[in-house]
Amino acid sequence: MISRAAAVLAALLVLTGCVSPALGNGSYRGKGQASVQAALSEVETAALVVEQLRRDRIPKAYADETVSASEQAIGSISESFGSVQPPPQSDQVHDEVTALLDDADSAISAARIAVRRVDRPRLGELLEQLHQLADRLRDAESRLS
């Protein structure tokens, strides 16, 4: 009996693959909001590090490691959200959140490159970009809540 249940469970897992379904539009919206909220945390972390490095108030190694960790985290957030199958009528949420996560990924990657080079003019430009991105993420989060 137990082995049959285990076999059914295993078959279900294989059939559903790695893509976890969202239960409905509300649930998918909730996952989108959580992803945006997590992305906002990483973008603001990168912005804080960039700002401190520009002002020469943080050791380069510390700045590099902190921004690299944010880059890694945003990759996981993106991957996790991308693995959820959007239900019908949620394409707009999917497109909006995916675009924001992609932008966050690109901005934090650019920040990591500039931090490693201690490229101060570029850090200034990126700080502005990161702040704008953070504002967009906050808007999206309040819309999705």
Partner: protein
């Protein structure tokens, strides 16, 4: 004069040694998400650890024997085994988290990947546990851990609205848009971090190592009742810096680097260098304590020779357990498990194991056969009983809250 110096040294090392990776991460996470809305948990947890550390220290000073040794003798091998397994599981998880924490601190300082550091750190911790004397380990890392006072300096330099800060800390409320289950999940985690079982076992085993007698009870009490609360203030300062700098930016702490960032904002590069020294000292000191506690627990339960005051050859099985624990901890970390996640789970599981850890201590401290005239008084029993109820409630709530909140998400 010598006695005053010993008293001061004990208090200072108790302050510096109070904070470990669990306190660092949990306080910063809570500060960044709830501000000081959960600050009330800290005094509750600190008083709890004081109550049981005093009891276990008194037991060690009066009987000259360590906790597990007496638990098995007084409550039988079965209860002793349950006590051993529960405490050991949490202590070992904390040991893994501490080694991971040292590696992360070194990564932040050098930009060399943590996975390079993990085996180096494991080997160094084991070497220190094998070769260095007990007092050297305790005093060096305890005193270096005092550098974490930089978090308190950072709070002052951030020029906060003190009245708003005190008001938030003194009016427990979940006013930060988080769900009530999440609020209580972090309350349990913070409580578990403050009352980690290994601190009590290490404290009492250290008492036996240092051959405390009834004359040392006064010094022991000063260490507990002055050192631990001041150590708790360091924890509060970590939460406060996160609340002041990270929370307004919607940053939720996920890495050790984020824990130190507010100090960088307040004090610049020098502040962050001091933070890194503090991270290293706090995690290395706690890795030594948890590593030794692993060996102490096994050896005391099975009645083997143990401790740092005998030659390694005389306590071969004790040192073998420490070595094996270090190897398994390093191997676990090399599977690329996130040390911060291990830390977050270790403090919650710590809450789960608290009743099994602290109930036997309360029983022993009440036994006149062991304690003689130093048996628990009314105050100690009242506090011990109240805290036993609190730890049972926290333990019962820990797992359901973990599932409901998906581990605090």
């Amino acid at each position: 004069m010598k006695r005053v110096f010993a008293l001061m040294l004990g208090v200072l090392t108790a302050i510096g040694g109070f904070v470990d990776i669990g306190d660092l991460v949990t306080n910063a996470v809570v500060g960044s998400r709830f501000g000081l809305g959960l600050a009330w948990v800290l005094p509750v947890g600190v008083l709890g650890i004081c109550v049981f550390a005093e009891m276990s220290g008194r037991i060690a000073a009066v009987s000259g024997r360590a906790t597990f040794d007496l638990v098995r003798e007084r409550l039988g091998p079965r209860v002793g085994l349950v006590n051993l397994v529960a405490s050991m599981a949490v202590t070992f998880l904390t040991f893994i988290a501490e080694i991971g924490g040292i590696s992360l601190a070194l990564e932040l300082a050098t930009s060399v990947n943590e996975f390079f550091w993990v085996p180096v750190v494991g080997a160094t911790v084991w070497l220190v546990l094998w070769r260095a004397s007990f007092s050297l380990i305790e005093n060096t890392f305890g005193l270096l851990g005092l550098t974490l006072i930089v978090f308190a300096v950072a709070v002052w330099r951030l020029h906060p609205d003190w009245s708003a800060l005190v008001h938030e800390a003194s009016h427990p409320a979940n006013t930060h848009g988080e769900g009530l289950p999440t609020y209580f999940y972090y309350a349990v985690a913070l409580f578990g971090a403050a009352m980690t079982p290994y601190e009590v076992f290490f404290f009492s085993s250290g008492g036996v190592e240092e051959r405390w007698t009834e004359k040392d009870i006064g010094t022991m009490r000063a260490n507990v009742f002055v050192g631990f609360p001041l150590g708790g203030i360091l924890s509060l300062a970590i939460a406060a810096t996160a609340a002041l700098v990270l929370k307004p930016l919607d940053i939720s702490v996920e890495t050790l680097g984020q824990v130190g960032l507010p100090v960088g904002v307040a004090l610049g590069k020098i502040g962050l260098v001091v933070v890194l020294v503090g991270f290293f000292a706090a995690t290395f000191g706690a890795a030594c304590e948890t590593g030794l506690s692993t060996g102490y627990s096994f050896a005391q339960y099975f009645g083997w020779q143990w401790g740092k005051y005998v030659r390694p050859r005389q306590a071969a099985r004790f040192h073998l357990v420490v070595l094996l624990a270090t190897i398994v901890a390093v191997a676990t970390l090399l599977t690329t498990v996130d040390p911060i996640k291990v830390t977050e789970y270790s403090v919650v599981f710590s809450a789960l194991a608290l009743p099994l850890t602290y109930f036997p201590i309360l029983v022993l401290a009440n036994d006149p056969d062991y304690m003689g005239e130093h048996v628990n008084g009314r105050m100690a029993n009242a506090l011990g009983t109240v805290y036993l109820v609190v730890v049972v409630v926290a333990a019962a709530a820990a797992l359901p809250l973990m599932f409901i909140t998906k581990a605090g998400q």
